[in-house]
């Protein structure tokens, strides 16, 4: 007992203050992509051609306009390296979750971040949200950074959010992976076992669009093609703070319309 207490004292209090205070992110953190379209050469498509998931659309016309579908984006470095002008970089913005799939298309304007659930749902889930996680072809990247929310660092339980073993005890599903053909039935049965009203959260590029497995004959290009999705959390994998931020926005714990705390 004494060594345990001694270690406890030495290791100290480690739970972060988020959302009351901003999170500590790595200097090289790859958050919201930022494009300086003023520097785009005429007719240049280098970023779009380099993208492994065809997430980038380059508009034609006098003023080049670059749209990045964050639902497909792997937040990799293909476009930032391919741009001859160095006009694409990743910013520190970690709040990226949206309620609608189309809101994930970043055009330079602020993202329409996830709005809170309606009044009735918030009364039901706002102070106690139980989620059943289903990995449906996830690579264990998203799963790991969802799981990490249970550690003392993030302490998800302080928000009343908990991952539960049985879908019968759950208020919704948190889905990772492109939904493989072999998981389609299990996912559907798990969803049916969740009592209504139920939520669906899609975490990661795979669950939103198929990610690197877009178009694979063995997968379904994400959860959205099979189930109604209430929250999209982009990334490959999303940083735990991005996932937590999305969940808190959904529950109205971070007010709609605000950016970073």
């Amino acid at each position: 007992m004494i060594p345990i207490l001694r270690t406890r004292l030495r290791q100290g209090q480690r739970t972060i203050a988020f959302p009351a205070a901003p999170p500590a992110l790595p200097e090289l953190f790859r958050g919201m992509p930022v494009v300086d379209t003023a520097r785009c050469p005429d007719g240049c498509r280098a970023c779009a051609d380099a993208c492994p998931t065809q997430a980038i659309a380059v508009g034609s016309g006098a003023e080049p306009r670059v749209a990045i579908d964050l639902g497909r984006c792997l937040f990799c470095t293909e476009c930032t390296e391919a741009c001859p002008e160095g006009a694409i970089r990743y910013g520190q913005e970690y709040a990226l979750a949206t309620r609608r799939r189309e809101d994930l298309v970043a055009t330079g304007a602020p993202l329409r971040l996830a709005a809170a659930l309606d009044e009735r749902s918030r009364r039901l889930f706002g102070r106690s949200l139980k989620l059943r996680q289903v990995s449906a072809g996830g690579c264990n990247g998203c799963e790991s950074d969802v799981n990490v929310l249970n550690t003392i660092v993030f302490d998800l339980a302080r928000f009343g959010i908990q991952f539960v073993a049985s879908p019968r005890h759950a208020d919704g599903l948190l889905i990772t992976g492109p939904v493989t053909r072999n998981m389609r039935l299990a996912l559907h049965k798990t969803w049916q076992a969740v009592p209504e009203p139920r939520l669906v959260v899609a975490v990661g590029a795979c669950a939103i669009s198929g990610g690197p497995y877009l178009g694979s004959a063995q997968a379904h290009d994400g959860a959205g093609s099979l189930l109604p999705v209430d929250l999209f959390v982009p990334g490959c994998p999303p940083h735990p703070i991005t996932i937590l931020d999305g969940l808190l926005r959904l529950l109205g714990r971070i007010p709609s319309g605000t950016r970073t705390p």
Partner: protein, 494 residues
């Protein structure tokens, strides 16, 4: 000795025409004899026409030499499995994909149940035990925690497990089919996510094979940064596993500390490249990121602080009598069983087998140096836990040394990518991920495109060890045994 296959080395391409084609019976007998005499099977797979494949085997012979041999198959071949158990999943996999039959295979059923393949029709039966008081427990594919899907079928007598059959395939995303269309823009991103907790292991191993076919030579600093990332990946996973093992026996102090500390190591990887799993760190030609002296110094300080806290958490774990009582003698895999099953990586090293690619066939990333080899006896949960604790110490020292003295020069050589590979060649990359041996075999066609890309994740060999570990154990020890291996579902399912 071409009747035993062409002598090959990882990362050294050979012309496909130079690979000896053997008569299937002689081919089979030679491999079986070599494995029985102390060799092992690294990869066995079909290539070419789907319905009439050519079988490729890469095995280690009795003298330790790696050999690559081919056998053409017309409908069937004499199975290796009854005399060489480590071939069992490879042969099932070939049968599932091609329909060609390994004659005499004792348990022929699909590996991934991939829709649309020859063997996917109907639900194959599970091995069943009959008799009074025998009952069956079925778990999965959706499990209780935040974890990948798989199905476990236990044959039990009371609490005791007679037999565990593991049925996977739920995560099958078609990885090899996607890779076979390349090389293209997507190739490295599929490699990085084929088992996301081994991003750097798979990416480095695949890149070493690709670079060999591209004639690209990675500068020393690039190799060192890859080794740095690989060992940080090992540290994060080993520390996380020790926490998870503590959690499974209800010892919460270490579970809580290691849960946090795992993140500290992931954050060191993020300090290197911006992503906690090392995505985009490894690129063809070297690494996509470099560290300046100030960042390296800051990383050393953070590494030292995390290592100190890990030591405390580990001391608590192994000092607790309840932990020792649950870990010791639980989930034993004997050394002979480990040899038969062809176990790799830390699961093998915890059974007393000195199997570590970093030492046996050092990948280029480790040519300049590597952490010392750790081998422990026992083969139980305790051995697998202690092995992790020992490897954490070795890796911390190695990483600190790398950060203190990174080779000068660029981190990356200029390389056109994606670009055609050497046409008509065959090469394999070998790596030691945190779980164990990673194999990437690449065959190119006449135009320099990928014709076949075979991936062997360490989990492919090692899931069988979990089934063996459960024999005679109480079913309530399954989570503990499972966590002590912590195998990949998606790395197996591909």
């Amino acid at each position: 000795m071409s009747d035993r296959g062409l002598a090959v080395r990882p990362g050294e391409p050979v012309a496909r025409a130079a690979l000896p084609v053997l008569e299937p019976r002689a081919w089979r007998d030679a491999i079986v004899a070599d494995v029985a005499a102390g060799g092992r099977l690294l990869a066995l797979f079909g290539a070419g026409e789907a319905a009439a494949p050519t079988l490729h085997a890469i095995h280690q012979d009795r003298a330790g030499q790696l050999r690559w041999s081919l056998a053409p198959v017309r409908g069937s071949w004499p199975s290796l499995t009854s005399e060489c158990p480590q071939a069992h999943l490879f042969e099932r996999e070939i049968w599932e994909a091609s329909g060609a039959v390994p004659e005499g295979h004792p348990w022929l059923k699909p590996v991934r149940r991939a829709p649309g393949t020859a063997a996917s029709d109907g639900a194959p039966p599970f091995f069943a035990v009959a008799g009074d008081d025998v009952h069956e427990v079925a778990v999965g594919p959706v499990h209780a925690g935040v974890i990948e899907p798989g199905h476990f079928r236990f044959q039990c007598h009371g609490e005791a497990v007679f037999h565990l059959e593991i049925a996977l395939g739920y995560q099958h995303r078609g990885v090899e089919a996607l890779l076979a269309q390349g090389p293209d823009r997507r190739t490295l991103h599929v490699v990085e996510t084929l088992a996301g907790d081994t991003t750097l292991g798979h990416a480095t191993t695949a890149c070493e094979a690709l670079e060999a076919l591209l004639g690209v030579s990675v500068p020393p600093r690039g190799h060192a940064l890859r080794a740095l990332g690989l060992e940080l990946e090992r540290l994060a996973n080993h520390v996380g596993d020790l926490g998870a093992l503590a959690n499974d026996v209800g010892f919460l102090p270490t579970a809580a500390y290691c849960g946090r500390l795992r993140g500290d190591f992931l954050n060191l990887t993020a300090a290197l490249c911006g992503n906690r799993f090392g995505r985009s760190l490894v690129r063809v030609g070297g690494t996509g990121f470099d560290v300046d002296p100030e960042r390296a110094a800051a990383m050393r300080d953070r590494l030292a602080a995390a290592a100190r806290d890990v030591r405390d958490a580990v001391a608590l774990l192994f000092g607790a009598p309840i932990v020792r009582a649950r870990f010791e003698g639980t989930g034993v895999v004997t050394a002979p069983a480990a040899l038969d099953l062809g176990l790799v990586g830390m699961a093998a090293r915890a059974c007393g087998l000195p199997r570590d690619v970093r030492h046996e066939f050092p990948p280029l990333a480790y040519r300049a140096g590597r952490p010392p080899l750790v081998v422990l006896e026992g083969g139980d949960v305790m051995a697998r836990a202690r092995l992790r604790a020992e490897e954490i110490e070795r890796s911390v020292g190695f990483v600190d040394g790398l950060l203190a003295a990174l080779p000068a020069g660029p981190a990356r050589a200029a390389a056109a990518w994606p670009a055609p590979l050497a046409p008509g060649h065959a090469v394999f990359g070998l790596g030691e991920g945190w779980r164990g041996e990673l194999v990437h075999v690449l065959l190119t066609d006449a135009a320099g495109r990928i014709e076949r890309w075979k991936v062997v994740d360490p989990s492919f060999h090692n899931w069988s060890a979990l089934a063996m570990a459960l024999r005679g154990e109480e079913i309530s020890d399954f989570p503990l045994c499972n966590k002590s291996f912590n195998l990949s579902y998606c790395g197996f399912d591909l």
